[in-house]
């Protein structure tokens, strides 16, 4: 009797029942979303009908008819839009990967310089970081392109560095390595060196006595460098020839030619991202508490061991997540290439959208590509991050 009446009193009407309300509010939310989406969709389809546009990705199969300045795969105006888009994607990937590589090196160096006990080095690094971080990337890019690379001298007054590197209005020209007849013999040395280095690493990184020393790193590295070096002289003739760019009548031929657009975009992205990476690195190194370092010294570890065994693993844990977002930023910022005419994914995409009059599918394609790149990088860096975080326990 008593229990029944309690049950009776706690029974709430359905309009005040949290479970019911939860479901109802979600249904309302979805309905509102659907109405908004439907409104946009009906406007879009009527606007497209008015302009005589057809939805879909059929245009990718049509001939593009426009030139692209540079690319990793051969491309001509008679190729399809789809191929043009791929050229753009590859250009974005190229500038992003090369940019990430150099930005990491410059960023780490600057971050360490920022902690230097040398006052002058410290201040130079700080000034560089502040100037870069407080001015827009786009201004830096147009400055580097229109203010520096476009203003380089014409071909006949080319700047020359040590007879092998050249810079003029047409871009930068670097020597290119070419395999010589003895190259194949030399590759076997490299292969053997790699195998040996892996074996050394595998042995020492599990050795009870040496795993906490430098042997697992230094010995394989030394092997990896020394063995091919010996091979270089053993095969008789130098296995790699350098193709020096040659001055032609109107331009240089041979070697590696970097267009002014690519060079400017790369320079701008590297300088910009490195300043942010430097701050990330500095933060990570400073996050390692003083006591840790003192304790490590007290245990008799030498300076190098302190750095490698104590500071580095702990700093990496702090550094990797923000570093990931800097890498992603660099890839996304490469879309500013359109301002200086480098044919990246967004630039080519905008041209396609203009020519075909199909902005909707093209922009969807562009966004999907960037999303895929972002997600892939996130996943890869998260895997790496998870690995170094586990070391904690």
């Amino acid at each position: 009797m008593q229990q029944q009446s309690v049950a009776h009193h706690t029974a709430v009407p359905f309009w005040r029942d949290v479970r019911v309300l939860t479901v109802i509010s979600q249904i309302v939310f979805v309905i509102i979303l659907a109405i908004v989406a439907g409104f946009f969709y009906s406007n879009l389809s009527s606007a497209m009908r008015q302009r005589g546009l057809v939805a879909g990705f059929d245009f990718l199969e049509r001939e593009s008819g426009f030139e692209i300045g540079e690319g990793l795969i051969p491309y001509k105006p008679s190729d399809l839009y789809g191929r043009a888009f791929v050229v753009g994607v590859l250009n974005t990937l190229l500038v992003s990967i090369v940019g990430i590589f150099f930005a990491t090196i410059l960023g780490v160096l600057t971050g360490v310089a920022r902690l230097s006990s040398n006052w002058l080095i410290n201040r130079i690094a700080a000034t560089y970081i502040e100037i870069i971080r407080n001015t827009p990337l786009l201004v830096q890019l147009v400055f580097v392109y229109f203010g520096v690379f476009v203003k380089l001298p014409p071909v006949r007054d080319t700047f020359e560095f040590s007879g092998a590197f050249f810079a003029n209005q047409r871009g930068l020209f670097l020597p290119r390595p070419l395999p010589a007849p003895t190259f194949d013999a030399w590759t076997s040395f490299i292969l053997f060196a790699a195998l040996g280095a892996f074996a050394l690493w595998f042995y020492f990184s599990r050795h009870p006595k040496y795993r906490y020393t430098f042997y697992p790193i230094t010995l394989p590295l030394a092997w990896l460098i020394l063995f091919p070096l010996i091979g270089w002289f053993l095969v008789g003739q130098t296995p790699v020839n350098w193709e020096i760019p040659e001055r032609g009548r109107f331009n240089f031929t041979g070697g590696i030619a970097l267009s002014p657009e690519f060079s400017a975009l790369l320079t701008g992205l590297v300088l910009y991202t490195a300043a942010f990476i430097a701050e990330v690195v500095r933060g990570g190194l400073q996050a390692v508490r003083r006591g840790q370092i003192e304790a490590a010294r007290a245990m008799g570890l030498n300076e190098a061991q302190v750095l490698y065994l104590v500071i580095f693993p702990q700093a990496m844990r702090v550094i990797v997540p923000p570093l990931t977002s800097q890498y992603l930023n660099l890839a996304k910022n490469s879309s500013l290439a359109i301002a200086i005419g480098y044919p990246d994914l967004f630039n080519v995409g905008a041209t396609i959208a203009n020519q075909t009059g199909q902005p909707v599918p093209v922009i969807m394609l562009i966004m999907a590509t960037y999303l895929a790149m972002s997600l892939t990088t996130s996943v890869l860096m998260n895997i790496y991050n998870a690995r170094i975080q586990v070391l904690e326990k």
């Binding site: 939860t22 509010s25 979600q26 939310f29 979805v30 979303l33 946009f40 406007n43 879009l44 009527s46 606007a47 497209m48 008015q50 230097s116 006990s117 040398n118 006052w119 002058l120 080095i121 130079i124 502040e130 100037i131 971080r133 407080n134 001015t135 827009p136 990337l137 786009l138 201004v139 830096q140 147009v142 400055f143 229109f146 203010g147 476009v150 203003k151 996304k332 910022n333 879309s335 500013l336 359109i338 301002a339 967004f346 905008a350 959208a353 902005p359 909707v360 922009i363 562009i366 966004m367 960037y370 999303l371 972002s374 997600l375």
Partner: protein, 421 residues
Amino acid sequence: MTTSVDTLGPPPTTVGVLGWLRKNLFSTWYNSLLTIVSLWLIYTVVGQLLVWAFTTARWGVITANLRLFMVGPFPPDQVWRVWLVLGIVSVMMGLSAGVFGGTMRTFGVWLAAAYATLIVLDMIAEQGRPFADFARRFGEGGAGQFWIALPGMVWLAANLAILALGWIVGRGRAKWRARLILAWLGSFFVTVALLQGYGKDTWLPELGTNLWGGLLLTFMLSVVSIVVSFPLGVLLALGRRSKLPAVKIFSILYIELVRGVPLVTILYMTQIMLPLFLPTGLRIDNVSRAIAGMTLFTAAYMAENVRGGLQAIPTGQIEAAHAVGLSDALTTLLIVLPQALRMVIPAIVGLFISLFKDTTLATIVALLELLGVGRSVLAQPEFLGLQMEVYIFVAAIFFVFSYAMSFASYRVEEALGVGKR
């Protein structure tokens, strides 16, 4: 009794200038080497830059186009509205400097110094010509020309005076703090209304956002976007932590989608696609489209910042609020949000700085903000080849404002004690 003892001072190489040099520049052989190399590097780079800036550089391109850089295509006879907006900012800054003290006072001093410097520079550059011009136009046009022809110097001096007045009035009135924050928000709407105007033949004719340009547009783009994206961001952040799966999934999808693509693509989308999405009768101009794009973009980042603040609120706070009988909604509104938002102020300032710099991307969709004005100036035949001068000027303006804001953020962070509690 006491015999004077000759106390030996510390070795001269460890104290004073010499000691400092030894400790900070020449402590080891490689540090000495680094110092010498950097000194040589600084000498060549900075030296060449200074020589260029004072001899070769033609800064005339800046002074000749100063109005364009500041307000872009804004009609010259309506520029007094911009001056009035600056006046509002001066009043508010002066009052805030008085009421809040601290960092705001530092800012007030900086602003006053900036006004004073600009007045002096203007005097040197113009040598009283604007006054003669003003007298002539006032004589011809009468009272109607008064506000239009008033020299910039006078406006600057008035701003300086208003700033000082605000400080004097606001000093020691700690009670005004809440009112002042509301007034800042109100001044935002007054500013937009003032620049926008209404009707055709009124005292304040409607101008349309398309006429905003230069530094004015840069500021309006970033300020309007951050203000509008704030409520959106808070909603998305709450949505992402919501118990309702539909709301949660929507928020996560939106945030991650926007954060995964570059701002340019979103600006491009709102520029090209927004007109397609809206009914045919509804036309919105370029600037509003850019603002829409920046707002949608910023909202996602705002949401992530706010979420950081929400996560930092201890569960005990929420449980305590429930224990005293607050509903979920009231707990969020009265307990969680005020604490969380307070915590994320520095992050929001950081977001604003990056948004401020990102407004340059509007150039790509053909808007005439500061960088866009720079590019259009460089396209004029008489200013060809002056890229270095123009871009350094644009970069310097961005640097001054961004640096001041990051300085403020740092000080606010210290005052709030974020990360120390």
